[in-house]
């Protein structure tokens, strides 16, 4: 009798949870269908060739395995190796290729395993982002923001062999757990972000702000856990150079590889990025994509500022698109800005009406498909 009651409650809870989240799952499924359809169209038409030979069109989802995906697969296959003066793989942080290796243990080819992994992580990221948003901006804006993130034009990267889905998930989880003062779990989420990409280390800012806000009322144990959460992301980020020091006998291998990729810091980098950006715009229109999304992200963060989103989150997300400019280029800034979570809250707050929201989702979905179809022409 009791068992039957527990079973009923479980089933009810499950049904309620599904009912609450099915819009998100639906948005995820439809947006990913668009990306997969775009990749299949590339496979069938064998065009545009862009930077690639025919090899990326051989596999049905080959386009989703391209660009940095090649490097992540290489790391999962062979480990790290610094080749001086050339682009090499220590420029890529280790968590995603590590998960790729685990996913490939199921027997799937590495590329397919990466695509499945990224898509599942993206679903998890959307679900956690929605929960985080509810606590920050309320359920209505949070839900709209989550759907807008699902169909955001640059979100095709979240279906590629790239760590962006993982980073999104870790960012959203860190934010939510910090708000709930679950400091140890927050430390783990922040560490995962910092092991996925170097910008994860910047999570120190919002966690520190959340810890500072709680400091006066917290007991010693909570203060200690909060401090640990603050230090977790930098500690995790530091583990990568330590590993490279052990494996390649060069703890600075990441910096050297970044240099070869044209990603080294320059004091006048932002100025260079602006002047070169204007020049690049005249030469090829694709430069406009990164510049446009960088400006859009900053504008939406300004809108989010008015929504009382925690200031340090806004500072962190502004840094996500500004720090890469110190290398003197806007390259890939659209992708770097994808993780700027408050920007989606800002965007969602601008479209309150049903029709306006539906129109924005439609336009964004069309751009998402277009971005997928032009994948061979320009790197994410």
């Amino acid at each position: 009798m009791l068992e039957h009651a527990v079973e009923t409650v479980d089933r009810d809870a499950l049904a309620a949870a599904w009912a609450e989240r099915r819009t998100i799952v639906g948005a995820w499924a439809l947006s990913r269908l668009l990306v997969v359809a775009g990749a299949l169209a590339l496979h069938w038409t064998h065009a545009p060739h862009g930077y690639f030979g025919p090899s990326i069109f051989h596999r049905p989802l080959g386009a989703l395995e391209a660009w940095d995906g090649i490097w992540y697969r290489l790391i999962a296959d062979h480990g790290y190796l610094l080749v001086a003066g050339r682009q090499s793989d220590p420029a890529f942080f280790p968590l995603y290729p590590l998960l790729l290796k685990v996913a490939a243990a199921t027997g799937l080819p590495l590329g397919v395993a990466g695509i499945v992994l990224s898509n599942l992580l993206f679903l998890a990221a959307l679900l956690v982002f929605d929960v985080f948003g509810r606590d920050v901006v309320g359920p209505s804006v949070a839900r709209r923001a989550t759907i807008l993130l699902a169909v955001f034009p640059t979100s095709y990267v979240c279906s590629m062999v790239y760590p962006e889905s993982l980073l999104l998930l870790a960012f959203a989880a860190t934010g939510w757990l910090a708000l709930r003062r679950r400091w140890v779990a927050c430390a783990v989420a922040a560490a995962l972000a910092a092991l996925a990409r170097p910008e994860g280390a910047l999570l120190v800012l919002p966690i520190a702000a959340a810890a500072a806000a709680r400091w006066r009322d917290a007991d010693v144990d909570e203060r200690a856990r909060a401090t640990a959460a603050v230090l977790a992301a930098p500690a995790a980020a530091m583990s990568f150079p330590l590993y490279l020091g052990w494996a390649l006998h060069d703890p600075l291998a990441w910096t050297q590889a970044q240099h070869a990729w044209g990603r080294s810091f320059r004091a006048n980098g932002v100025f260079l990025a602006l002047t070169r950006g204007a020049h690049e715009l005249g030469r090829q229109a694709w430069a406009g994509r990164d510049i446009g999304f960088c400006l859009l992200t900053l504008a939406l963060l300004a809108v989010a500022w008015r929504l009382a989103v925690p200031r340090m989150w806004i500072a962190l997300c502004a840094l996500l698109v500004i720090v890469p400019l110190t290398s003197g280029s806007f390259e890939s800034d659209a992708r770097f800005g994808l993780v700027a979570l408050p920007a989606y809250w800002g965007l969602a707050s601008l479209v309150r009406g049903r029709r306006a929201f539906a129109a924005l989702v439609g336009v964004s979905s069309a751009l998402l498909l277009a971005a997928t179809l032009t994948l061979p022409l320009v790197f994410p």
Partner: protein
């Protein structure tokens, strides 16, 4: 009591991040293969090549020996500053490559012999490019041997590589290059200012940093 509280604070606040860092290193070490000795050696040889901008060579063939000097850098070419390699052979032949294959300075198509000599000139960055692109994907073999009268390693990269670079055992600096079926050349890293100026003059680049067409 206060000391115990302080200890608990420090143990938690520092202990968790330290555990995270240790776990990060441990997971990476468990998950990823370390480069083998051969791959490390080849990467070391490439690191040496990456630091060079000029190479002197001396082709060794049954018929006659032809010396060469390769100078690499940014030169003005077709109205733009472009990275490339200039090779001046001992017989006066001037060959260059600005990323579109080997070209003859006098406008004629390079002969197969000239192409081979260009390769044997051992232009460091081109050689590094060729070996480096294969290093991460292919099989690498490094064997101890003797070259140019000294102890050396022969480094061959890639499954179908037809190229073997010989480097000194102590410093991994280039000593010789072998193209199976095409011959050998002894290599001497770097070149003095006079030699570099000579190459630049031969390509009409006498004025500082390539004012004229290479």
């Amino acid at each position: 009591m206060r000391a115990l509280g302080r200890f608990r604070f420090v143990a938690t606040a520092a202990g968790i991040p330290l555990c995270i860092a240790a776990l990060g290193v441990g997971l990476d070490a468990a998950a990823f293969d370390r480069p083998s000795a051969s791959v490390s050696l080849a990467a070391g040889a490439l690191r040496e090549l990456a630091g060079l901008h000029a190479m002197r060579g001396s082709e060794i063939s049954a018929r006659r020996s032809v010396s060469s000097i390769c100078v690499q850098g940014d030169f003005r070419h077709d109205g733009r500053i472009t990275g490339g390699a200039l090779v001046l052979l001992g017989d006066g032949t001037r060959l260059y490559d600005f990323g579109h294959g080997v070209r003859n300075y006098d406008g004629r198509l390079p002969t197969p012999v000239q192409r081979r000599r260009f390769q044997l000139a051992g232009c460091p960055l081109l050689l590094g490019d060729r070996l480096g692109s294969r290093l991460m994907k292919g099989v690498t073999a490094a064997r101890p041997t003797r070259a140019d009268g000294g102890w050396a390693y022969g480094v061959r990269v890639g499954r179908s590589s037809a190229l073997e670079l010989f480097v000194t055992r102590s410093t991994l600096r280039p000593l010789a290059l072998r193209l199976p079926g095409a011959g050998w050349s002894d290599l001497e890293p770097g070149a003095d200012r006079v030699a570099i100026a000579e190459v630049r003059r031969a390509f009409g680049l006498a004025r500082p940093e390539g004012r004229r067409r290479a």
